[in-house]
């Protein structure tokens, strides 16, 4: 029997805010344990949470970027469970009225574009971190209260690779929108994976297994690649699957059972009485809406279709937004977009990396690249001369025309002088000239070299070739 995997993801990512979700402590990674803490995030007696306005804006913005509805009513709820890293022994989250609902993410997968529906993206607070030592354990509450976005997908994913690409696309969107830095090394993104399998063609979903707390995308891919065959093999060997929560062991490369449904937590969600429901009005939403950015996939598609550049080049401009924006300004009104893309990607990007500078710090305008390409295409300078002009531009700024002028880089295409150099070359080198006349076309290259030498590189090679051919055939 053929089986199909049905996968949904719950992706948590930390929001890029200065302060925590419900207090003024810094949202900062890597500080000495328990230094970014206050009575509120430590769950001291008597404290109250006050929602972070910026986090609420970023949540709504995420909604817009994920094509979600942003309803006019949302609220916070308490999720109750005892654990040392949960300072209040409940987590403030959103249960039945989240800040955003029903959206989707489009992303490239295989040869086409796939769509995964987003059930909701809601805001909650992160918890602290338990550390275990030889004789005791400690809790670091620096992370407690950091704003955390939970993005829940519908079970629209069918494979580990598809899940992997979805996660990367999601990450790109969040980085694009300035929502999160999505730094995996700093634990800014974590994932819960829901997996079931069913016979292909079957509508009914199989028994769901949840794999908790994955912190790398490759780990998610590996875990799915382990879990799907495990479930299929269990069914094929006549066994039954139980609804359960499993843990991914990254070293052993296996999943193992944590708890079954009978032992599932009853979180006893109820409305958070310390925070009034959220009722974003139109002005507030319009302000958030004004910060919408073009999504990576849309940008790529636009670059390919508007400028006719290869998908590969477009990917560079999607991955490096300032560079892409620079390209867009350079290409305005230009004829040769491909050449401009080449200069920006091959030369400009390389120089920026080499010198550790940014597009903002450039000493020249994007139009200079357009001008440079135009004078190369017009034959005013050679492509080698172009390299010199670019180097000067990068170093000191200015305009390509002025640099060509100052450095005497203009090629000679004027026929009087060229004719003379060519005739001299033919006259001084009768053998290659004869070879050419006798049909050995390559022989012209030697003569070309002589002309270039005589002109000290200033002759326009294309015109030299044409003139030589004309004189030899003459």
């Amino acid at each position: 029997m053929q089986y199909e995997a049905v996968i949904g993801l719950e992706t948590h990512c930390q929001l890029k805010t200065k302060s925590k979700m419900f207090c003024g402590c810094a949202n900062e990674f890597g500080a000495v344990p328990n230094t970014n803490v206050c009575p509120v995030c430590l769950g001291m007696p008597g404290v109250l949470p006050v929602p972070n306005e910026r986090a609420l804006q970023l949540t709504a913005l995420t909604g817009y970027l994920l094509n979600c509805e942003v309803p006019g009513f949302a609220k916070f709820d308490r999720k109750n469970y005892f654990y040392p890293d949960v300072s209040k022994d409940y987590q403030i989250t959103q249960y039945d009225f989240p800040s955003t609902t029903t959206g989707h993410v489009d992303f490239e997968f295989g040869d086409g574009i796939e769509r995964v529906r987003v059930t909701r993206a809601h805001i909650e607070e992160d918890v602290g971190k338990n550390n275990h030592f030889a004789q005791h354990s400690g809790v670091d509450f620096n992370r407690a209260g950091v704003p955390l976005l939970e993005i829940v997908s519908e079970p629209d994913l069918r494979s580990a690779d598809m899940a992997y690409e979805y996660l990367n696309a999601l990450k790109d969107i969040l980085i694009y929108g300035g929502i999160s830095d999505c730094d995996m090394e700093k634990g800014m993104v974590r994932c819960d994976v829901n997996i079931s399998v069913r016979p292909k063609g079957e509508e009914k979903l199989g028994v769901k297994v949840e794999i908790k707390n994955m912190n790398t995308f490759s780990g998610v891919r590996r875990a799915i690649n382990y879990e799907v065959p495990r479930q299929i093999e269990t069914l094929e060997s006549g066994g039954t699957l139980v609804q359960e929560t499993r843990r991914w062991d990254d070293v052993a490369g296996i999943t193992e059972s944590m708890r079954t449904k009978e032992h599932a937590h009853d979180y006893r969600y109820f409305p958070e009485p310390d925070i009034m429901p959220l009722k974003p009005d139109e002005t507030w939403l319009a302000e958030v809406f004004s910060h919408i950015v073009e999504l990576p996939l849309a940008r790529k598609q636009r670059f390919v279709s508007d400028y006719g550049i290869p998908a590969q080049d477009a990917d560079v401009f999607v991955g490096n937004v300032p560079l892409g924006d620079f390209f867009e300004q350079a290409v305005e009104g230009a004829k040769n977009a491909k050449a401009i893309a080449n200069w920006v990607i091959n030369n400009l990007q390389a120089c920026l990396i080499e010198t550790g500078t940014t597009v903002d710090e450039l000493k020249f305008e994007p139009a200079a690249i357009r001008e440079l390409v135009a004078i190369i295409d017009a034959g005013t300078i050679s492509s080698k001369g172009g390299q010199e002009v670019f180097a000067a531009l990068f170093e000191n700024g200015g305009s390509p025309a002025a640099i060509v002028e100052a450095r005497g880089l203009a090629q000679v295409s004027d026929s009087g002088e060229l004719d003379k150099w060519c005739q001299d070359a033919i006259d001084s080198n009768p053998d290659p000239a004869d070879d050419y006349r006798n049909g050995k076309e390559n022989a012209i290259n030697f003569l070309k070299g002589q002309v270039m030498k005589a002109s000290r590189g200033k002759a326009n090679p294309q015109v030299v070739g044409e003139t030589l051919a004309k004189l030899l055939k003459g």
């Binding site: 001291m44 109250l48 929602p51 005892f82 654990y83 040392p84 022994d89 006893r268 109820f270 310390d274």
Partner: protein, 487 residues
């Protein structure tokens, strides 16, 4: 004697430089030394800190500070044991907090200080504000100054007892289902529960977040108006506090009740009200009428569901609010082999019976499969109760009821019967569910023994000004507030 003054009387003398804040503080300490062995209102007092604050105020007064800018300048005020004061213990009359000291000042504390008050003492209460008699305190009950065999009410019973015993010039309590008004009634003082959102809850250890509200207990209405004025207002640390303008409550006092419509809710005047309480109440209604008020019967059809609704909503919220007392970060810890047994041991030994009962009840009503039948249903009934009030306030300015069905009961009398204890709050609870303001003030005494009887007035949301004005008019026309317990 200095300790016999009202808060207003004391500020007049302080302003006139007839007495110093240190003398006022000293008078309280001496009175406490004399009578608190019987009353047991105070759990602890940091005397050096209290006198230090008083000296600082005296220095400020000498430099020209005035009561116009700081209405409480130099006035000793005591605090229920659930207000967070930096460096001071806060135990909520529970064992579980151990030797915990608050690392921060709550907003009410800060505002009272800004107004010049000398804050002192940790006042006894029912553990985590759960109870109606202070008998649930882990540190022993407080006694009613009118009859030491009887309870002072609760949960702010210590506050009411301290005010009635003249151990302080005012006390700050909290009211979740009647916890200010019921003890005020039982001890013969004035207790005000402001509208939900009027006073910040930041720095007040929570019992039930959607019901808790901070308020004053004082000897007369004017003193309550002064304290409310100092505490009220929006607080950026409490997103449920409301940015409504704070009126000058004191300057608006005075006048009679002409043009005021008082609503008499038939559903409150049930069988089971003590005859003496009923007689005192009827006389109070008549007195209001004589002062010009128009009495009108109103219907509050959902009143009978108040107690049940309250014990679902309040316990549900409490079950989450009290989860943080887990022995991990602060307070007493009773170790175990793993986190789970540590929690069980710590909480099992740290909390008292009533607190555990309510946590279990609250956990139950929120549990999967029961949520809809209990918590959700209770929220819907709460909306209906709120609507009862809204409809009543369309035709009347305030409601008039007894505060409690009977005068103070004897200690131990209701400890074996939690339901009987819960019914002590039957007239006060719906005010919290509706979120509006209410006040209790003395309206007479039972004959033998002589015990105070309380009159409750319930006002419109954020209508404290009018509520205080009505209460003041009644109070000034009657002698009850001038009577003192003989200790």
């Amino acid at each position: 004697m200095l300790h016999e003054l009202t808060l207003t009387g004391l500020t007049a003398k302080l302003a006139a430089k007839e007495v110093s804040s240190r003398e006022a503080m000293q008078a309280c300490l001496e009175r406490i030394d004399a009578v608190d062995g019987q009353v047991n209102a105070f759990m602890s007092i940091d005397r050096d800190d209290a006198l230090g604050q008083a000296d600082a105020v005296d220095a400020a007064l000498a430099k020209g500070a005035t009561h116009a800018g700081q209405p409480l300048l130099g006035v000793p005020v005591s605090l229920k044991d659930l207000f967070c004061v930096k460096g001071q213990p806060v135990n909520c009359s529970s064992k579980i907090l151990g030797d915990f000291r608050s690392p921060y000042d709550g907003t009410v504390v800060r505002k009272l200080r800004d107004a010049g008050a000398v804050l002192f003492g940790r006042i006894n209460m029912d553990e985590f504000a759960m109870g109606s008699s202070t008998e649930n305190s882990a540190f022993g009950r407080s006694n009613n100054p009118w009859d030491l065999e009887r309870v002072p009410g609760g949960s702010s019973g210590g506050c009411a007892a301290a005010v009635a015993a003249q151990e302080c010039f005012g006390s700050i309590g909290t009211d979740t289902g009647g916890s200010i008004r019921q003890p005020a009634a039982l001890c013969g003082c004035v207790g005000l529960k402001p509208t939900y959102g009027r006073v910040s809850r930041y720095g007040v250890v929570a019992f039930a977040s959607s019901l808790d509200q901070v308020g004053p207990l004082t000897r007369d209405v004017r003193d309550s108006a002064t304290l409310l004025g100092a505490m009220a207002g929006h607080d950026p640390h409490d997103s449920t506090s409301v940015p409504t303008e704070v009126p000058d409550y004191v300057s608006e006092l005075g006048g009679d009740l002409k043009g005021i419509k008082l609503g008499l809710p038939g559903e409150f005047l049930i069988d089971g009200i003590d005859p003496e309480v009923r007689a005192a109440f009827d006389a109070a209604v008549k007195q209001c009428e004589e002062l010009g008020a128009e009495i009108q019967e109103v219907s509050m059809p959902h009143t009978e569901y108040g107690v049940a609704t309250y014990y679902i909503v309040a316990t549900a919220e409490a079950s989450a609010n009290l989860a943080r007392f887990d022995g991990i970060r602060y307070g007493d810890r009773v170790d175990g082999d793993d986190p789970f047994s540590l929690y069980c041991n710590t909480r099992g030994q740290g909390f008292g019976e009533e607190v555990k009962r309510r946590i279990i009840l609250g956990t139950y009503v929120l549990s999967s499969g029961y949520y809809d039948a209990y918590y959700l249903r209770a929220q819907k009934v709460r909306t209906l109760i709120k609507r009862d009030f809204e409809q009543a306030f369309e035709t009347v300015d305030a409601l008039i009821t007894p505060t409690v069905p009977a005068a103070a009961f004897k200690a131990g009398e209701k400890m074996d019967d939690p339901l009987q204890m819960y019914l002590s709050d039957i007239f006060t609870i719906s005010c919290n569910l509706a979120g509006t303001c209410g006040i209790s003030l003395p309206c007479g005494f039972t004959s033998d023994p002589k015990l105070p009887i309380g009159l409750q007035l319930i006002g419109k949301p954020f209508g404290e000004s009018q509520l205080l004005k009505i209460a003041d008019a009644y109070e000034q026309a009657t002698p009850w507030h001038t009577e003192r317990a003989a200790l």
